[in-house]
């Protein structure tokens, strides 16, 4: 895991229901207001379903969203 603790071991306990396999961490491109970021997230290797963990969403992501909103 190379993304500085954004994804925890707990997050890796989630599995894809449809494909019933474990998730693998890989880059996902997220964007807001015209700015994109590659973030390493747990994803299903078969169908691409990915997870944005709560801590990431309410922490770093929220901070970046606000940063981008402010001019």
């Amino acid at each position: 895991m190379s993304d500085f603790g954004a994804v925890t071991e707990n997050d890796m306990l989630w599995t894809c229901c449809r494909c019933s396999g474990p998730l693998e961490v890989g880059p996902v491109q997220l964007s807001y207001l015209g700015n994109s970021f590659w973030i390493d997230l747990p994803r299903c290797p078969s169908c691409g379903l990915y997870l944005i963990p709560e801590e990431l969403a309410t922490g770093r992501m929220a901070e970046v969203e606000q940063l981008l909103e402010d001019k």
Partner: protein
């Protein structure tokens, strides 16, 4: 080897091969404004692991040179792109003769040195009479509030950051005319976004950047850091000695 932000693992991973806001897209803009032509000799001052110099050589066909004071970086650059001339040295003493270069690139460098005017003097010396100086860097959009920033640790990209007027004055003092000034603070925002993702929060990033001084961090916000790109050329008849 001196410790600096640029050598920290989280920073490098977040910033990618380009250590600067705006990345190569901004370099492209700069190169475009300079009107680079194939075969021209172009120096990247503070080249790091060489993204800009390699890019300029590949995309614009120039004869690219990269200068950096970090042996580790020069080693890496050499390994990645042996086609560029890599030089271990200091911007305060550029080991080339008068008028040697057609263009000098200074991306996020001037604000990290203690003596930007001296560096500019060196650039003026090694630049040909109608050459181009291309700069991108941090600046303060509310400079009046940035007074406590001068106590920052060296080698972080905010130390010499000043307001626009101060930057332009410094260039004129060093014998340059500013041809293009463009605010690119949007690039800084995106860069800061990556830093937040990498470090966990803006506060963590600034702490890594500036050390633990709360006041410095507070005054950064007040001074409203921004990012600019600039192209200058040596003044016609004022060659500084």
């Amino acid at each position: 080897m001196s410790y600096s932000l640029y050598e920290q693992a989280p920073f490098r991973q977040a910033a990618g091969a380009e250590f600067r806001p705006g990345g190569l897209a901004l370099t492209e803009e700069l190169a475009d404004e300079c009107g680079l032509e194939p075969g021209q000799r172009v120096l990247d001052l503070g080249c790091g692991v060489g993204a800009t110099a390699s890019y300029l050589a590949g995309r614009w066909g120039v004869s690219a040179f990269g200068l950096d004071s970090s042996a580790r970086f020069i080693e890496e650059a050499e390994a990645h792109d042996p086609g560029v001339t890599w030089v271990l040295g200091r911007a305060q003493e550029i080991p080339y003769g008068e008028g040697f270069f057609d263009a000098v690139f200074c991306e996020c460098l001037l604000s990290t040195v203690d003596d930007p005017v001296r560096v500019l003097g060196e650039i003026h010396r090694v630049l040909r009479a109608d050459g181009r100086l291309a700069i991108t860097d941090l600046y303060l959009r509310n400079p009046g509030r940035g007074s406590s920033l001068s106590g920052l640790p060296a080698a972080t990209c905010l130390r010499g950051a000043a307001g626009r007027e101060a930057v332009v004055s410094m260039l004129e003092l060093a014998g340059f005319t500013v041809r293009v000034w463009r605010d690119r603070s949007d690039a800084l925002k995106a860069f800061m976004g990556r830093m937040v993702f990498a470090y966990g929060s803006g506060a963590c990033f600034w702490e890594a950047f500036l050390g633990e001084n709360e006041d410095r961090r507070a005054s950064i916000a007040l001074a409203r850091p921004g990012y600019y790109m600039l192209v200058g050329e040596p003044c016609a008849d004022t060659r500084r000695t």
